[in-house]
Amino acid sequence: MKKLINKPEDVVVEELQGIAAAHPDLVRVHFNPNYIVRADAPIQGKVGIVSGGGSGHEPMHGGFVGMGMLDAACPGAVFTSPTPDQMFEATKAVNGGAGVLHIVKNYTGDVLNFEMAAELAQAEGIEVVSVVIDDDVAVQDSLYTAGRRGVGTTVLAEKICGAAAEQGRSLQEVADLCRKVNGWGRSMGMALTSCTVPHVGKPTFDLPEDQMEIGIGIHGEPGRTRMPLKTADEITEMLALPIINDLPFKAGDTVIAMVNGMGGTPLIELYIVYRKLAEICKGHGITIARSLVGNYITSLEMAGCSITLLKADDDILKLWDAPVKTAGLRWGA
């Protein structure tokens, strides 16, 4: 295992210490339980937004804490969802009296731990609404299973809902908006390489030099299928078409498009993927109104990418353009 770390068991705490040292203007970091809050939290009268999940997906979620996005993020151990006390304390820390939205990615662990945290917060009289993001088209949805994973749409939902909360919208309105974004967002990812969880010390799966994984999640899990390596254009089609056909996105739709790197893939490759995605959208009569190209929701040093398309109306576009001031996403401020 080749990593810039000290002891595997110290990775998350030392990362948090680094974040605290690097961004005192943006955030405060609380230890035991671990959570990152806006430097100016709580903001009276504003709906608080809390998200969280396992570590290893940086910049998500800690890098999205700040004005116009999240009020707090709760980082668990690497790829392990955080514990209820973290979300409970973070919820109290950001509660400005207007209630708190929990944005939860659909993984059993995340759902159960956020559920317990919400129960604790509600017991203390804090109004909490949870919205579960499940946008991964690689997983067939079904009432009888754990359902779809929450992936790339989470980033867009945190930006858009953060802007709405900043505008002073109510908890119900922000929660409804979050559900709308989840309903209109679809994602799919692929891996060229596995990644190595620090305390494991070896790659989660072996992927031969000529093979790739299609339909991966964000925890180094193997994907739905393994197949021979293909060109960037072919891979982009294999991700984009299932996304487009799932919603489905139709001619005339306007979208926000994200080409996301899994952590170990350089920008030069992500732009090659974006080039083809733009071509495919054009071919389907879909207009890309806004785009993100870079590492936003990652799996440690995994090489690969994911594509997210979010159908966008004027309200969503205005909220997207609103100022955001975080370590991972910043404009207009």
Partner: protein, 217 residues
């Protein structure tokens, strides 16, 4: 001690035994999780039970219910993932049924385990056959009840429960996962043993080993 009676010291040594086993099996559990999950189940359980043992002094002198509740709350607060809330709920519910008790009869012990399993199913919404810890816990509790009602000595009954848990664990191998992380793999989840079912089997294995002397008297 009197035959077939479980004291608070027995419960503590059961948890100590499990903590050691989880420590030894950490990499094995993580390997299983790497195949169909996210390679953290061993580390999660190890972290959780290390914390439980560290907290034991806080329940010195306290009753069995307090010990089990402390165990559950500590797991919830330190494990995370799916395992944390599920095992946490398991022990918290077991603790609720043994409130104030300084010792348990085998049937009371069984009742505590059954309450724990009910809690796991309520939280996780999993039924048998979905390739989860439920597939080990359920047959284990059933076997324990059958054996005790048939008048088997407690230690023998626990051996049968552990054996049933092991069979339940092995039975997860051919299953298609429909709950938990493994469900995202669809068909590819088939052919792998579920890590949570494995850690649940080990919990019963420890009980059987710890309480082995319970009928020799």
């Amino acid at each position: 001690m009197r035959s077939g009676v479980i004291t608070r010291d027995d419960i503590i040594s059961w948890l100590q035994c499990y903590r050691e086993v989880v420590g030894e099996q950490k990499d094995y559990l993580t390997q299983l999780d790497a195949a169909i999950g996210d390679a953290d189940h061993g580390a999660n359980m190890d972290r959780g039970f290390a914390a439980v043992l560290a907290k034991m002094p806080t329940v010195a002198e306290k009753d069995i219910g307090a010990i089990l509740k402390m165990t559950g709350m500590t797991l919830v607060a330190t494990v995370g993932g799916a395992g944390g809330p599920l095992y946490g709920t398991f022990f918290m519910r077991a603790g609720a049924t043994t409130d104030g008790k300084m010792e348990l009869s085998p049937l009371e012990f069984l009742a505590a385990l059954e309450a724990g399993l009910a809690g796991v199913q309520q939280r996780g919404k999993a039924t048998i056959g979905e390739k989860t810890m439920v597939d080990a816990l359920t047959p284990a509790c059933q076997a324990l009840r059958r054996a005790l009602e048939a008048g088997q000595p407690f230690a023998v009954a626990l051996q049968q429960a552990a054996q049933a848990a092991e069979e339940g664990m092995k039975a997860t191998i051919p299953m298609l996962a429909t709950k938990g992380r493994a469900s995202y793999l669809g068909e590819r989840s088939i052919g792998h043993q579920d890590p949570g079912a494995t850690s649940s089997y080990l919990l019963f294995r420890c009980a059987a080993d710890c309480f082995a002397n319970k009928n020799k008297e």
